[in-house]
Amino acid sequence: MVVFVALLFSCQKTSKSTLIKIGLPEEPKSLNIWLSSDANSKKILDQIYQPLYTRDPNTLEIIPWLAKEDPVFNEQELSYTVKLRDAKWSDGSQFTSEDVLFTKKIFFDFKIPRYYSTWKVIKRIEAPDKQTVVFYLNEPSAIFISRVLTTSIVSKKEWEQVAAKAIETEKPLRFIQDYLVEKPLGTGPFTLFEYKKGAYLHMKKNPYFFGTGKKIAGFLLGPYVDSLLFKIYGTSDVAILALKKGDIDFYWWDIQPGYLEDLKKQDNIKIFLNKKSALYYMGFNVRKPPFNDKILRQAIATLIKKEFILTRILQNYGTPMHSIVPEGNQFWYNPNVEKFGHGQTPEERIKAAYHLLKTAGYTWEIPPLDDQGNIVKASGIRLPSGDPMEKFVILTPPADYDPKRAFAGTMIQEWLRDMGMPAFARPMSFNSLIDTVKGTHEFDAFILGYGHLNLDPDYLRSFFSSENDKPRGWNMSGYKNPDYDALADQQISIIDIEARKKMIWEMQKIIIQDVPYIPLYNPHIIEAVSTDRFGGWIEEVDGIGNIWSLCMVKPK
């Protein structure tokens, strides 16, 4: 065995210094952009396929990327004119307006999931010349630039024949999704050189990348490394060990706070903490008792100690959430929403909740406040109708899937029991949980989260408008409010951004007042790199794993 080790060392040539090694937690699902939806496939494909517009990592504003300049809006015609940059695909062929037209055609012909639903606002699309595209819309859309124009564009050359063949088949979408993509054509900074399933992906610098040498968003873009080697690890443990040993330079995944103490001890490890555009919350089923009563939900919101969750469960790596929109999303976040129990001591919270409930007609066998005004452990809460409150279950993901949510459920259960409520936190396997909450709607309450909320707040409409209260729909709590619906439907067509902001703020106010969801926390994303060989990582919302970092990172 010593012989093995010796042989191995002698055989390992010194690796090129411009090869950066990145650890992935799981195998990418597929390199076919129509099928892949998982985070790890996106990491690879985002370096290949590029959109017309993207977000500036510092200001979060929409900036031109494959487009040359901002789109020109014509109000009478409801059209956007976009001028394209002089760019090439990774095989040297020219990127033209035909590619954009072709991309739109694929979305429409195949009703591509996720993309078609936002692109269908386009009535027609024209290409007056090879460098210009004009989009004509059916109706004004507030999200056209932020959602539609930030979609990746594919090469007509790569997909034309496959699409033509697929359309003829009985199941065209299936055909095009199952198509084996080996060397995707892209306009991005890297191309795929080799993919060894289960082990690694080897990407090389794209010599035709349009950004090389240009200053965009204040960065003079590279890439300054020749290759990317993505190594696939099965577990975080092993990957972090590899990071410590120097087998990888960056582990592209969120690191649990438990590893931090150990990582901090090493000098050559740098830790990045960034805000996420995420929402972790407790949701109620407002369709049936007991949570069809707004007062009860508000009382529970008062009782939940968000600071405790932050310090104990998140170990201070995060921020408490007061609205559905994360605080970091400064433009859209409404800081004036009601903050139940905020800043109150545990005793004050119990008193406040007690008064809320008592006024609404709730009674107890043993109330939480005795005759002298001291706090006791309550029991046997009764609904205003006089019936005892029936036992209810708070569903959470299992501890191995997300210890934070599972544990939050346990704590909330205890806080509610102190109030005499028969609360039971129950971990449930993630798939079953989604099925119950989104499908059958047979639940009382749950704790879930969205790890990657879009920076555009249109999800407020998805989560809470009445029309989405259906099996598999996004309105899981069953919230129905016609005033809210009206606002939600309006805001999507308002072009004036200040007017839209007013509506979004109003919507948040309503939701936090009615609490179908109680926002709980927004965890920081924790990432670590080895500083031995590379530096120049770019931080933005959702971390350093982004295209800017890969274009700017330089060997030391």
Binding site: K29, S37, K111, R114, K196, S432, I434, D435, R472
Partner: protein, 324 residues
């Protein structure tokens, strides 16, 4: 001719059982509570997208029609497409199978040889310190909890001491640098040593104990006494007469304890992230990737059934009384 009829009947039996398992499994998936279909599809899609995907995947057809399509495809080698990867299941299985076979056969062979050898010695020196040591070690090995033992090996030998890699089957740097075939082989072996060690020790225990008790009962047989009386040396008696006969139950137990080995194999693959069928099955199960999970399971079932067929035939060949 009687032999052939017997073998033929056995084959029919195995085939029928396999078919029943296939059918039961297929309908079991359909019986799942809740909406099994949208579980299979990405939950981040809109309801319209989900409905569209369901139609495209053919999941909206009635169950019995899907069944016939499935069976027809199965016997023409088409095991369906993985919901998760989008690739044909048969390709995925073909990719992973060699890794499992490599690990499995190597560990079983090594454990069987070592078990026979050590069990022979233990039985021969029955009651001595050596026997006690071997027996107790075997007992402990046999009852070790596999995941824990594997984690322990990983912790001590891979993490603390650093002699072995922490998992996987190859070191990517070596392979992209275009190393020689020899170096690549060494790399794979280097990665295989820890999972191999785990499986080896776990199985060694049972083979050793089995060999020991088998040997002990053989040693009481008359023909051994005869051999001794004939004046043959102890070593010859032990190796040529007793051990050979005593080893037989161990060989057959390899086939019979396949269920236990498979369980252990899957756990080991998972912990060492060895890219084999066991690990793929666990992954498919977590992702509700039914075609892949189904195919992995059927493969395992087929292997188990065939192994038992072989054992049955072996017994029948050796003992003419067992023919029914």
């Amino acid at each position: 001719m009687r032999n052939q009829k017997f073998i033929f009947r056995k084959f029919i039996e195995i085939f029928t059982i396999f078919f029943i398992i296939l059918t039961v499994l297929f309908f079991l998936f359909r019986l799942a509570p809740g909406d099994p279909v949208s579980k299979m599809v990405d939950p981040t899609l809109t309801p319209e997208d989900t409905q569209h995907m369901i139609e495209q995947l053919g999941l909206d057809k009635p169950a019995h029609i899907q069944y016939f399509i499935y069976v027809k495809n199965f016997f023409s080698g088409n095991l369906g497409r993985s919901f998760h990867y989008g690739e044909p299941v048969s390709t995925i299985i073909m990719d992973k199978l060699p890794c499992t076979v490599l690990l499995f056969t190597t560990s079983t062979l090594l454990a069987a040889f070592a078990g026979v050898f050590l069990g022979k010695i233990a039985a021969w020196s029955k009651g001595s310190g050596l026997d006690n040591f071997l027996s107790i070690s075997a007992l402990v090995c046999h009852t070790l909890f596999i995941p824990w033992f594997a984690l322990l090996l990983l912790w001590i030998l891979a993490y603390k001491v650093g002699w072995f890699p922490l998992g996987g089957i190859i070191s990517p740097e070596l392979w992209i640098d275009d190393a020689s075939v020899f170096m690549k082989a060494i790399d794979v072996v280097h990665h295989m040593l820890l999972p191999l060690a785990t499986l080896f020790f776990i199985h060694l225990g049972s083979y050793l104990l089995l060999m020991r008790s088998s040997m002990l009962s053989v040693l009481r047989e008359d023909y051994i006494i005869t051999a001794r009386a004939k004046g043959l040396s102890e070593k010859v008696i032990r190796n040529k007469h007793a051990a050979k006969n005593a080893a037989l139950p161990v060989i057959t137990s390899v086939g019979l304890s396949l269920a236990f080995s498979i369980n252990g194999g899957a756990l080991t693959e998972q912990i060492f992230t060895w890219p084999g069928i066991g690990r793929e099955l666990i992954f498919a199960v977590s992702n509700n990737d039914y075609p892949l999970a189904q195919a992995c399971f059927l493969l395992i079932a087929a292997v188990v059934l065939i192994a038992n067929l072989v054992v049955d035939l072996l017994y029948a060949y050796l003992d003419p009384r067992i023919r029914y």
